[in-house]
Symmetry: D2
Subunit: 353 residues, 4 copies
Amino acid sequence: MSRIPVAVLGATGTVGQKFLARLAGHPWFEVVQVAGSAERVGQRYGETVHWREPVPLSPEMAALECTTAEPGVAVRIVFSALDAAVAHDVEPRFAAVGALVVSNASAFRMDADVPLLIPEVNPDHLALLDGQRRRRGWTGGIITNPNCSTAVLVTALAPLHRRFGISRAVVATLQAASGAGYPGVPSLDLLDNVIPQIGGEEEKLEHETARLLGTLDAEAVAPAGITTSAMVHRVPVLDGHLISASLAFLEAPTPEAAMAALAAFRPPADVAALPSTPARPIEVDRRPDRPQPRLDRDRGNGMTVTVGRVRPCPVHQLRLVALGHNLVRGAAGAAIQNAELVAVREGWVTASG
Amino acid sequence: MSRIPVAVLGATGTVGQKFLARLAGHPWFEVVQVAGSAERVGQRYGETVHWREPVPLSPEMAALECTTAEPGVAVRIVFSALDAAVAHDVEPRFAAVGALVVSNASAFRMDADVPLLIPEVNPDHLALLDGQRRRRGWTGGIITNPNCSTAVLVTALAPLHRRFGISRAVVATLQAASGAGYPGVPSLDLLDNVIPQIGGEEEKLEHETARLLGTLDAEAVAPAGITTSAMVHRVPVLDGHLISASLAFLEAPTPEAAMAALAAFRPPADVAALPSTPARPIEVDRRPDRPQPRLDRDRGNGMTVTVGRVRPCPVHQLRLVALGHNLVRGAAGAAIQNAELVAVREGWVTASG
Amino acid sequence: MSRIPVAVLGATGTVGQKFLARLAGHPWFEVVQVAGSAERVGQRYGETVHWREPVPLSPEMAALECTTAEPGVAVRIVFSALDAAVAHDVEPRFAAVGALVVSNASAFRMDADVPLLIPEVNPDHLALLDGQRRRRGWTGGIITNPNCSTAVLVTALAPLHRRFGISRAVVATLQAASGAGYPGVPSLDLLDNVIPQIGGEEEKLEHETARLLGTLDAEAVAPAGITTSAMVHRVPVLDGHLISASLAFLEAPTPEAAMAALAAFRPPADVAALPSTPARPIEVDRRPDRPQPRLDRDRGNGMTVTVGRVRPCPVHQLRLVALGHNLVRGAAGAAIQNAELVAVREGWVTASG
Amino acid sequence: MSRIPVAVLGATGTVGQKFLARLAGHPWFEVVQVAGSAERVGQRYGETVHWREPVPLSPEMAALECTTAEPGVAVRIVFSALDAAVAHDVEPRFAAVGALVVSNASAFRMDADVPLLIPEVNPDHLALLDGQRRRRGWTGGIITNPNCSTAVLVTALAPLHRRFGISRAVVATLQAASGAGYPGVPSLDLLDNVIPQIGGEEEKLEHETARLLGTLDAEAVAPAGITTSAMVHRVPVLDGHLISASLAFLEAPTPEAAMAALAAFRPPADVAALPSTPARPIEVDRRPDRPQPRLDRDRGNGMTVTVGRVRPCPVHQLRLVALGHNLVRGAAGAAIQNAELVAVREGWVTASG
């Protein structure tokens, strides 16, 4: 099979680099376009990027010439690591000319006709794409993955919500520096310190959670009846968002029942077969001091969410801690998995590869 | 006035050193005894201690010879920085022979006749001391300060509870390394990492909060009707515990009303006049990224709790973040302030010094 | 005595803030002008600055209106925390109209007629100011303090050079994040990492050292015959530069003789009496694991350099480690001390204040 | 081929865990014995170990029962991660009964008849083993790898020494926390700090360097004529020792010639074919801010040493920075590679596997 040509927009940033690192050797996708900011256009990617991934940049990608973030190169899929404001202008132009934009940006996430997806959780929401194309007159389309902390939270909540019905979630996040990109958070702000603020993050957690766990009804998503309250904190950690939650349920599970539901969680067969789907989307760790960002963020090649400290909550019914890799499960890995989902469901490839 | 002779037990540990650093030059108290572990007995404190405070050790204290943690030296007040298990055996022996044990240990904190005090919050609970002496046949007594994270939380909650009645608190803590003492948390566990566990801490937060905010009724404290749920996390910060809370009230205040109550909080006049009481026990910081441990932990010489991010909570009524210095407001500073309270209320000194 | 009016240029940056923090309550100087970048001009300092010092900003300074970095306000002394390129243009304009520019910038440091000063080390170099004024036609003038790491190194080397004659120094520095200003080094670059590069720093260490230890000869400084080789490293430390040195001498001292010379080091009487001069410019710490940045950087109110690990060097004659606060001894504190030196030697104040 | 049975002594420590992580799936060796401290004997390794490697423990290893560190199990190779004092007693007992002890401990490193090896550098020193067996009456033997920082330094120096003859090396190390094992360095000592001391490390660097680069002469190693001066520093980094060096040569190379010699460095063919030998033992990185511990420590699966900042030294002839993974190139990886060397040279396996 010849691989599907893809572009990466915002290719030199933190998430953009993670896209390239994970797309190197991808069985279905081949990066043929990398787009960067104006001053990089025309330069070789390998020469203009300040490569910070711990794996070496592939020579093929290094040799690509940076383009503007505009359609022109023949690609079927466009991975977008653009800032929201730029994404708002740029992404529709690609969608209009037939590309599937798989976006990590927040620009269109909450639009009623734009799928906001976690393949293991709500792959059926992909069906919104039809109406999106019809209504907007696009031959391509836009699909999105959630905010990085929401991705971790909702992956952990999904099996609990299905079985027991979550009504309220009070969460506090401990988020890694890489979530702010590069240069991002100054070391003078983060060494020996915590910053109790990340712009816009609390609203995203509160709104995206209900949408992701909502039900597809005709051509719209009815949000789940979950009220979420979020307080976010930046901590001196490189990668890995940890989310500490207190949960109220319609039918309260015991901690054992909750852990059983988490451990038993499996996605639909075609999702399970995607190259980026980990063997276990959720791992329950019963050790009393886990999960920990540095030790657990790379599980399942960064796509597994680890849940621990599941125990009764004196105020609600359950407390737990969930941890995932913000740049993988929460960004580039999530978007690639979304693209894989489309590739299979639209018949561009067969799930067996 | 000649100063009151005091002892410090557990003098070489992290909290013990903070006691000595803060008692140097204290207007009322003079350290005449320092007790350490068996292998240090007979050595000069200055030679046996691995002094880690950023201020120099006073020559007078350095010259003290370490003793065992047993009565013998003529002291009126005994500051205890012992581990709970040791404190359980040792502290009563001092209380029995007439010393006022001012303990940072958890051994007796929840005993019905032992005052658990924050002078600005519940100085009236000191009255339990009479019954304690009568019942236990002690001429001295034991008074205690709360666990380090509880001290920060309850100082912040007290004015809100008084005005609006708190019914439920869901809290997540981000706690500093110094809370575990020395050697404490290995750097291999804490660099680029978070540990979602601190043994016993969640129970202490849940139980001590209701007790501290409870009302003295005859000779016992009736706990406040507050249900607290706590999840604790150790973060790569040296000093300063940050507590992120979601609060439900009997009468919900607006954020503005809550901030006004916090900012207006003043202790009774004799408490306000204690040497260790800061000008403002609580400071409200309206900047959207505050409080931060490194920038705010030393306010009020470490005794002020900073509250920020006061805003509506989608699940309960209010969210806020409180920060205080765990070794000062949460340990040595708190105990010294407790001793000052007794010294004034028992007439050993006059509040004007 | 009414205080001398002074300006601070670059007042909102890391060094600028340290200037204001240390000038609050200064016995001789009063800040009447604060200059910042164009977009801040006209705003109150307290409203435009992102204040990051752990001590509160003084209300008087907070109320000052930011100006451009141009003469206009009546000041006698101008503290410059400008970048070198800007300083090159701006500082002469102040010097031309009668102000003494006390600069932390490198723009004029190596000019033959500009004093590069450490008051305890080479106060006589101040005499260059006469020729500078004459030659340049200035009624004011420019004096400078060394680069932050050079300040620490040379303070430690000076007494050894005087007594034993240093011929070669091979140094490696471990420098704090605050040396790069704010935002400076991204946390993604510094958490769990070391960066073996700081632009221009090695050359400054190599050139400024010989100049500072040189001898004033008629109207020029003859550099000392010291060859310095420097390799610099940025480490995850907030404040405090540590310098690890191997030294060759004309007459090799024993470690004991070297420590004796270091401990005995005292500046001239009028320098010793300056408000910013610490009781001991150098402290020798014989503990085998000192100096350490966090524990020793604040000695002498940040102006003392701590020297430790003095021992024989198998290649040269002596190894030692020196540590000082880069923003104090290495920047703002140094400049203020330089201004104090001028104020005394020009008779603006008497050394007794 | 059936795999060679091996034991790991000190299996639960930091280096011991790294041994197990790297021996999982090794083509030649199979771990059949894990020895730990007395209280662990009889427990399953997987239950008693506080596993801290980021890769999961293999189920086969987890199921092994911990033994004492005594001979008894039939193994041909014994990997020792014991402390020096214990190693001194224990290792000879294994050597006496026919096992090849491949030790990371310093106990026998400097014994005249014990090979101290870096396979790419001095594989011929393995010949000392014959005399060792003859003299000590052992049927097995002991071979050792250098101290972790020496391993990094000497790998980088070897090609320069061969071509240009190094006479003097002044080095400063910036060493990671994992070099001290677990629990090792307290976080209170290392957050926002540097510790300029690591017990015994400077002497090891000074002595082992000359031995490793020495020449085998009949049955003894004549140390190279290199004088090394070392100052060590512990920095807040998890893994990766960075060594900053100033070098004097018999024939001074230009930086370009030095980089060419480093980049061209290749081990003998049979060493190059060992499973643990990286494609390039040394990589020269010309970027001005490299090598950096976090970005470069994992090159070559942790076995590659990265050299950068090669430039003229004003005092000697060359400055450079070398970086390697202390637990891999500096400990477990080095020992495994040593065992591979013996396995090939003694004909236990063929180099092709």
